[in-house]
């Protein structure tokens, strides 16, 4: 009995090991390295930061920890502005994804079974083309003499080309487009497993289809909405490529700031501090709220 229990525990441990090892190796270790750099002082050499500790002339161990990089973040309102703007743009893009993704996921989940796989494949199809190429394609669509303006001019909706490229709007469009599958897939998974007799029950109790959607389908799909929104929002906040290619010089986003600190200023410690701050200020609260929500739900069960 003990023996079986023992191997059971060992087995469970061994099975659990790879994911944890993976997380430790590719998430925790890089995070610690970044954390370490963010606490170092910048230097002109290579690497462009001083070691956290060394031996001074007397041979004693000396630490060179500094919070100066974080102080910089709080000292210059550029950073705060970039954070807030990132959250705003990512938030709007998330909303855009939800508004387009929910009906799409709903339509796929309610389509005849034979079609669903093909429709899902269509959602995932863009992944077969490089992300960069797809974002470049949006430049072609959105620029002044691009396809969108040409179409609108031809339709007579506008008389002057619109300046969309190099604005926040272009960034929002690009993000909504790029992250849409991350919204559709979890929503589909949720809507597809919904028990349709619940809608029959609602109708039976005198509820019209639209009201039944609001009263039954929508609340039951909340976990899907939350999962999809997080999958879109979190990477969108730190997004660099889309604002860089589609946004203008005044589209201030934290990803761009980070890039500028890292490559233009070669200030690795401040760049690291930006990254850590983003993680702590944004991702950590979301994780904690999510965790609490899940726990509350489980306690409710």
């Amino acid at each position: 009995m003990m023996d079986r229990l023992g191997t059971g525990r060992l087995g469970r441990f061994l099975v659990g090991l790879p994911p944890y090892a993976w997380l430790a190796l590719f998430f925790l270790v890089p995070f610690l390295i970044v954390l370490k750099i963010s606490l170092s002082e910048p230097s002109a050499g290579a690497p462009p930061y001083l070691p956290l500790w060394d031996w001074d002339e007397t041979g004693a161990l000396a630490f060179h920890l500094t919070l100066g990089n974080y102080a910089t973040l709080f000292g210059d309102e550029l950073y705060a502005f970039a954070y807030l703007n990132s959250i705003r743009i990512a938030g709007i893009a998330t909303l855009g994804c939800l508004l387009i993704g929910y009906p799409a996921a709903y339509a796929i989940a309610r389509a005849p079974t034979a079609w669903r796989q093909s429709l899902l494949l269509l959602v995932a199809l863009p992944f077969w083309t490089s992300f960069l190429i797809r974002v470049y394609a949006w430049i072609g669509i959105l620029k002044s003499e691009g396809m969108l303006n040409a179409l609108l001019l031809w339709l007579g909706v506008i008389s002057e080309p619109l300046q969309i490229l190099q604005t926040d709007l272009a960034v929002i469009i690009g993000m909504t487009y790029s992250y849409l599958p991350f919204m559709v897939l979890p929503l589909y998974a949720n809507l597809e497993k919904m028990d349709l007799t619940l809608l029959e029950a609602a109708a039976d109790l005198g509820c019209r289809p639209f009201k039944a959607f609001v009263a039954v389908t929508l609340p039951l799909s909340m976990p899907g909405i939350v999962a999809g929104s997080l999958l879109v929002f979190i990477p969108a906040v730190g997004e660099f490529v889309i604002p860089d290619l589609l946004g203008g010089p005044d589209t201030l986003m934290i990803g761009k700031v980070l890039w500028a600190e890292f490559f233009d200023n070669r200030d690795w410690p401040v760049a690291s501090a930006v990254a850590i701050a983003m993680l702590v200020l944004l991702v950590a609260p979301i994780m904690i709220i999510q965790n609490a929500r899940t726990k509350a739900e489980e306690a409710g069960k």
Binding site: T197, A203, D204, G206, L220
Partner: protein
């Protein structure tokens, strides 16, 4: 247990039925799930649809609720053609086989849901919710969510939710399917009591014939999409109109036979399985030579060591098998022809010195009035 005290409106040709099916068929592609059903159900009835799995009971019920559209025919509720009436406007409520309780709402909210759709004032909703919860004895659980309830409790909430709107008709699709035997019997009783109290017309689907017999005012027996027979439990059991119904309901001994002589109140048939002719009470004249089936229920067959009295139908054989069920024993008697007849005997004594045992030669007998001649 069943509401046998109620009058029998189905025997009154002038009575207007509450529910009427007129030539209703439902096809899924080429498959005929419901075939030319004509049916009238009256106000206050406890009507059961009984039949083997896949015979179209649920489909019939779903057409009544409005979830399926008949391919042919029309359904009337209270004289109104339901063809163009969507489910949310029909005066029926359904208790789903899976209960279909809203998992994100409390018991209370589930029950109030239907009342809210009618835009009733909040105090009325609160009162009625409380009243039906008390009716099904679930008042204590008002603030729980469905996943915090046992199967039996969920089933009561589902019943309460369907009852709350005081529909003209309550549809129940195998309402007790998920319950164990004890709880099932208790709930059957409870359902019948509730029906007596609220006076709603119940239409229940089941494939448990005992359940249908104990609860119903009338039973509709279905066979591959068709209604084979409609009648009171007694009619269905004692006077089945076809071989299918006789065989489906309860146990039955059946013999193939042909008519030898037909009178005004009885018929003499020749049965190749038996050594001599049988005399059976029958009101219709049957031409000589008509192939018929003779049916006699096991409890109507007496088993004895001695030759039975004159005037009874009888057969001779040996005991091939005995199934002891406690209250009764079922004897399987093998005739000379090899045909087997079941006879049921109540075990009246603790021990019986003259107890029959395997291979004992015995006589079987039954009264002419206790057997039936089936022509369908």
């Amino acid at each position: 247990m069943a509401s046998q005290t109620t009058a029998a409106p189905w025997n009154d040709p002038g009575a207007k039925p509450l529910i009427r099916f007129e030539g209703v068929s439902k096809r899924f592609g080429d498959f005929v799930a419901v075939d030319q059903v004509d049916l009238a159900i009256h106000k206050g009835e406890f009507f059961s649809l009984l039949g083997a799995s896949g015979c179209g009971k649920t489909t019939l019920l779903r057409m009544l609720a409005g979830f399926e559209t008949p391919t042919e025919g029309r359904i009337f509720i209270d004289g109104v053609d339901m063809s163009a009436v969507p489910p949310y406007e029909r005066p029926v409520n359904m208790m789903f086989q899976s209960y279909a309780l809203f998992p994100h709402m409390t018991v209370e909210a589930n029950i109030a849901f239907g009342l809210k759709q009618d835009r009733l004032p909040q105090p009325v909703i609160t009162d009625r919710t409380k009243a039906v919860l008390d009716l099904v004895q679930m008042g204590k659980f008002a603030t729980r969510k469905p996943h915090q309830l046992s199967g039996g409790q969920r089933q009561r909430v589902a019943l309460a939710r369907a009852l709350a709107k005081e529909p003209k008709v309550l549809l129940l699709d195998e309402p007790l399917g998920a319950l164990d035997k004890k709880l099932r019997e208790a709930t059957q009783l409870e359902l019948v009591n509730i029906q007596d109290r609220v006076g709603v017309t119940f239409v229940m689907v089941t494939h448990d014939q005992e359940e249908a017999m104990t609860m119903s005012s009338r039973i509709g027996v279905m066979n591959s999409g068709r209604i084979a027979q409609v009648g009171t439990p007694v009619d269905i059991y004692e006077y089945p109109e076809s071989r299918f119904v006789a065989d489906f309901i309860g146990a039955a001994n059946m013999f193939e036979a042909s008519v030898r002589q037909s009178g005004t109140d009885q018929v003499v048939v020749n049965c190749p399985e038996l050594a001599h002719d049988l005399i059976i009470a029958h009101n219709d004249m049957l031409p000589e030579g008509t192939p018929v089936t003779v049916m006699v229920r096991p409890e109507k067959v007496a088993i004895s060591r001695d030759k039975p009295a004159e005037g009874l139908n009888w057969a001779q054989g040996v005991v091939a098998d005995i199934a002891y069920l406690g209250d009764v024993s079922i004897f399987h008697v093998r005739l000379e022809s090899g045909h087997r007849i079941e006879a049921l005997q109540t075990n009246l004594r603790h021990t019986d010195e003259r107890k029959l045992t395997w291979e004992d030669p015995v006589y079987l007998s039954w009264h002419p009035a206790n057997a039936l001649v089936l022509t369908k």
